[in-house]
């Protein structure tokens, strides 16, 4: 369990590094999921994007959350392409704007920033619950986190709840028929596969919980 109840700048960087490590390790798996219902590039795109992010972040060492996440968002937007570049890019850009020029966030501030990120994803992708997208992992994660924060949970407990809800949301995409993105052209044939975007989004929440617990 966490000994502090805020995420500091080094913790934000550690979150991003942990996400990079996960998408790099699971690059082939994410691409395999995307081959089944998309265009077989999600693993490669996320691994390339997060590698570029860490290079930029380590070189520039932005001093505050808003600058850090603006760098992250713009790097993803300019290096990934496809749909995941703008979606993850928008997520981090909005996250940074909501976090503001601070050097640490408590659970409530983190939750607010995550919510702003998700709102950005919705504005960009127009996804709704059950469309078989990253929304289906992130939305339940944030609900679980908000509930945990409201009941006085620690940062570690709240992010762990978010991680578990994201994983459950990811698993729940398997039977869904896609209604957004290239998978939607498959119609019924998209059912029976996990959504690659929901899968990478669950990794993002896993990385967050790991950092909050350390």
């Amino acid at each position: 369990m966490s000994t502090t109840d805020t995420l500091t700048m080094p913790a934000f960087t550690a979150w991003l590094a942990a996400f990079r490590d996960r998408v790099t390790e699971q690059r082939s798996y994410l691409t395999e999921l995307d081959s089944a219902i998309g265009d077989a590039d999600h693993g490669a795109n996320m691994a390339r994007g997060m590698a570029a992010v860490m290079e930029k972040v380590e070189a520039a060492a932005p001093p505050t959350a808003d600058e850090l996440f603006k760098t992250v968002g713009m790097t993803l937007v300019t290096s990934v392409g496809g749909a995941s570049g703008p979606l993850y890019g928008t997520f981090f850009l909005r996250f940074g704007m909501a976090a503001g020029a601070v050097t640490e966030c408590d659970a409530a501030a983190l939750s607010t920033a995550l919510r702003a990120g998700l709102d950005g994803v919705v504005a960009r992708g127009k996804a709704e619950a059950g469309d078989k997208t990253m929304f289906d992992a992130l939305a339940p994660a944030l609900e679980a986190m908000d509930a945990a924060v409201a009941s006085g949970a620690s940062l570690a407990e709240a992010t762990a709840a978010a991680r578990d809800a994201a994983a459950a949301g990811r698993d729940a995409t398997e039977p869904l028929v896609a209604r957004k993105g290239r998978a939607s052209y498959l119609g019924e044939r998209s059912a029976g596969h996990l959504d690659p975007g929901a899968t990478s989004a669950a990794l993002l929440m896993e990385a967050l919980a790991e950092v909050a617990a350390s």
Partner: protein
């Protein structure tokens, strides 16, 4: 995989080098992967920017030049370009009267162009408007999908709106014209074979020798259905019927494109055009202008698509207006 390449990861960079050397009237920004006119149009005229994944050549770079686009952004094969590329292209070609983005309806393309327009607005540098092309009748249930894809009509739209921009029409008028063209055109495509993305090294899908895929997109997406191989006459009906079923053409003059997907010889495309024209005639559809060839391709895929645009005198005259690009060239 047998391809004329040096390295699967350098296909786009190497091809852009060739484009620049082959066409002295084009310039290539290699860092941003932008193809633009060597001679910009007059100050005070609206510029047109399009772009998308590579692998559809001549679309879009082959349509940069007098009478069509001012710049094209090239993404990796079948991957949308990024907003910074689009924004750079927009700033490069802006002549003070605004820039029209022509976007094919794919989730990635739409989002990246949307972000590019937002970046341009944030800098308050250039007025950007966007038209999204979505002409593919193969996508049914467009309410429950990402919507109809942008395919063959994109070629016609870039020609028609490009001609109007050359006449000095303003941004609002060009947006209205582009929306009109998009509303009046429909396309349907088919594949005899899959295509091989260089970075993947193997065909995107398996299509047995005696089967074909009807209602494909331009990235090796699945079609409406897979059916046994049929005669050209039967295939032409499978492509034209859904178009006629989706839009009534009445006695309007039409502009018809029979487009090759990249791996089909021209003799077969002309053979197909003959069948398509015969079906249209039987349905009383008047063909005013036609275009046969490889214009919006899917790498080495064998197959074709049909696009029919319900035109009027204005559109026919814009079609006839001079054009000077590597992909289309007449009247000048």
């Amino acid at each position: 995989m047998k391809k004329l390449i040096n390295d699967p990861d350098r296909v786009l960079a190497d091809a852009l080098r060739g484009i620049e050397l082959a066409h002295p009237d084009l310039r290539v920004d290699h860092a941003n992967r932008i193809i633009y006119r060597a001679t910009p149009k007059d100050h005070g005229t609206v510029a047109l920017v399009s772009g998308g994944g590579s692998g559809h050549e001549p679309l879009h770079g082959g349509f940069v030049g007098f009478g069509m686009l001012d710049a094209a952004c090239a993404g990796e094969v079948f991957t949308s370009p990024t907003p910074d590329q689009m924004q750079e292209a927009t700033k490069t070609v802006d002549r003070g009267a605004g820039v029209l983005h022509i976007v094919k309806n794919y989730t990635g393309d739409v989002m990246n162009f949307e972000m590019a327009a937002e970046l341009a607005a944030m800098e308050a540098s250039v007025e950007v408007r966007t038209v999204v092309v979505n002409d593919d009748v193969a996508v049914q249930d467009s309410l429950y999908t990402a919507g109809r894809r942008g395919v063959g009509l994109t070629v016609l739209l870039e020609k028609l709106v490009g001609a109007a921009a050359e006449q000095g029409r303003d941004l609002d008028e060009l947006v209205a014209l582009a929306e009109k063209v998009n509303a009046e055109g429909r396309s349907m495509g088919m594949a005899l074979t899959s295509c091989t993305v260089p970075a993947a090294g193997k065909p995107t899908f398996d299509l047995p020798e005696d089967q074909m895929e009807i209602g494909i997109g331009i990235h090796g997406e699945p079609g409406r259905h897979r059916v046994p191989l049929a005669s050209a006459k039967e295939i032409a009906e499978m492509l034209v019927e859904p178009i006629l079923g989706d839009l009534s053409f009445g006695d309007a003059p039409t502009i018809v494109m029979l487009n090759g997907m990249g791996g089909t010889p021209l003799i077969e495309l002309y053979l197909m055009y003959g069948e398509v024209a015969g079906i249209l005639e039987r349905h009383g559809v008047t063909v005013a202008r036609s275009l046969v060839g490889n214009y919006i391709t899917s790498l080495d895929m064998a197959g074709c698509s049909v696009t029919v645009l319900r035109a009027d005198d204005e559109l026919v005259s814009l079609w006839d207006a001079p054009v000077e690009t590597s992909g289309l060239r007449w009247g000048r």
